[in-house]
Symmetry: none
Subunit: 155 residues, 2 copies
Amino acid sequence: MALFLSTFVNRIDKKGRTSVPATFRAALAAGAFPGIVAYRSFTSACIEGCGMDFMERLSDGAQAFDAFSDEQENLAALIFADARQLPWDPEGRVSLPEDILAHAGITESVAFVGKGQTFQIWQPDAYKAVEADIRAKALTSRPTLPLRPKPVAGA
Amino acid sequence: MALFLSTFVNRIDKKGRTSVPATFRAALAAGAFPGIVAYRSFTSACIEGCGMDFMERLSDGAQAFDAFSDEQENLAALIFADARQLPWDPEGRVSLPEDILAHAGITESVAFVGKGQTFQIWQPDAYKAVEADIRAKALTSRPTLPLRPKPVAGA
DNA sequence: CATCTCATCCCATGCTATCCCATTAACACC
DNA sequence: GGTGTTAATGGGATAGCATGGGATGAGATG
């Protein structure tokens, strides 16, 4: 599966449009929906972004009642209620809605931040600060990343 | 499958008509019945909405409701008794019946709230309150969402 | 059988999002 | 170093959507 990698800073024009980074578009090309899905982060002043297929997986997970607590159900419902389908135009641009931009404090530039299976959208300076912070903590605590063994065929 | 995402607030005109959000109509387009199915929520002051195909799945007792007990099957029967088929007009509007509106306290505006496989219809301010509540709880308890592995190829 | 009421259809309108075309900039390739 | 290609950006034109109101027809009611 294609992953969202790297960070891209793009401008917002006066119509409210932003180019989705070409590599992100390529990663989303496999899905049926030509665009992105965006919702406000619960924990940070940023926008969570993903593809429609990711939402469908969330929906599948939400149907397995045993796996979900009430809290988790509420949270999933909140995501669905808050998520917007943002189709891109022929040039690969999307219009980020006002309220979502406000939540992230975005005005004229946005940072698309790859997170692997998903990505985030930040006010560029805000992300710089957060990144520096995480990087500083990593230096002191030396975390390790667990690696899953390869399932069967190539990932 | 097409999901119901995002929240849309629309007006009710003096004839009692409301536009079903275009994206919801698109999600329902796959079904045979050109309209929505609506019934009063058991748990909240809102209206549950879905497509006819979802009703059929409810009838089969298949997929979505594996985990339902006998008691919950009785609930399903109640749903059938309460549910209304609301076809939309050529412009995509439906007329929500009086008693259903009363149950949700709706007078002049309605909020269509996407829930993934289904959606809900709320009095806009009432939904705002509920949403704020859930969002606040999510912040404190920080639940995590289990994600099903991708159905097809490697993750 | 006449009339009334309500629901549906049809047409009109304002706003906004979307499409299409043009321009600039960056990179790669020759 | 020159050229071709792709990505990001800007702006005018168009189409779609939410909404309002009149007209028409079916069923209810007297």
